[in-house]
Symmetry: none
Subunit: 107 residues, 2 copies
DNA sequence: TTGACATGCAACCAAATAGTTGCCTATAAG
DNA sequence: CTTATAGGCAACTATTTGGTTGCATGTCAA
């Protein structure tokens, strides 16, 4: 699994938007994903290819349509291997901050 | 807080490496961060500027040296607002894909 | 079979990106 | 003051990226 491809894929707002749309409704066709976007179909295709190569989207042909499904595994992967590491440090910082803000406050 | 800047900043392997190094040892100078990298100092500077603009690194001048500190808040932010959302979705997405792959599938 | 619809492929283009080199400024030390 | 050190700035370059247009292919429906 290639972390770099995932990070690069997530770097573009259009691609994150596509993931958002698939999150709203999974299994959409290319045509459906294009609707309402300020982009040509071909541009959307390119974005989807990048998402596929990063394994963030998997595809299933059905007749002349191509259905797109979100795959959360790589996101989970970088979350576990990368993000949590930095969060761990913050948790202590956050709880310290909370303590100050709340005067003391347990929990 | 600009999510896009954070995602873009994280998209480059060299910048993630710089964050890793700051994670190992916080508060390093530019010179220290350059050591052992296959890059000129100026290239590193550019990466650090991008990390600063994404608020992932904060800087403190000390005499003629510039100390760099990691700031985990933006990472936490995208983790909470973005990553967790997809992690939650994982089970239902997988089962939806299965349905299609298996031709019908109950549930 | 004919036409309409859904997608694929390739060439091209402009802008952004990652990197370089060369020179300048500021601070510390001899 | 002079010199070495730490970093800043700007111009330039090659490559990547995000997007376009034009045409081709494959599939469904009449």
């Amino acid at each position: 699994m290639n972390d770099d491809a995932v990070f690069r894929a997530l770097a573009d707002a259009s691609r994150r938007q596509l993931l958002d749309r698939l999150y709203e409704q999974n299994g959409q066709t290319l045509g459906e994903l294009c609707q309402g976007l300020e982009m040509t179909r071909q541009a959307v295709t390119k974005h989807l290819v990048i998402l596929e190569e990063a394994n963030l989207v998997s595809v299933q042909r059905q007749g002349r349509e191509k259905l797109h499904f979100i795959n959360p595994v790589p996101i989970n992967h970088i979350a576990e291997r990368w993000i949590n590491k930095f969060e761990r440090r913050q948790l202590s910082a956050l709880s310290a901050l909370k303590k100050v803000l709340e005067g003391d406050g347990g929990q």
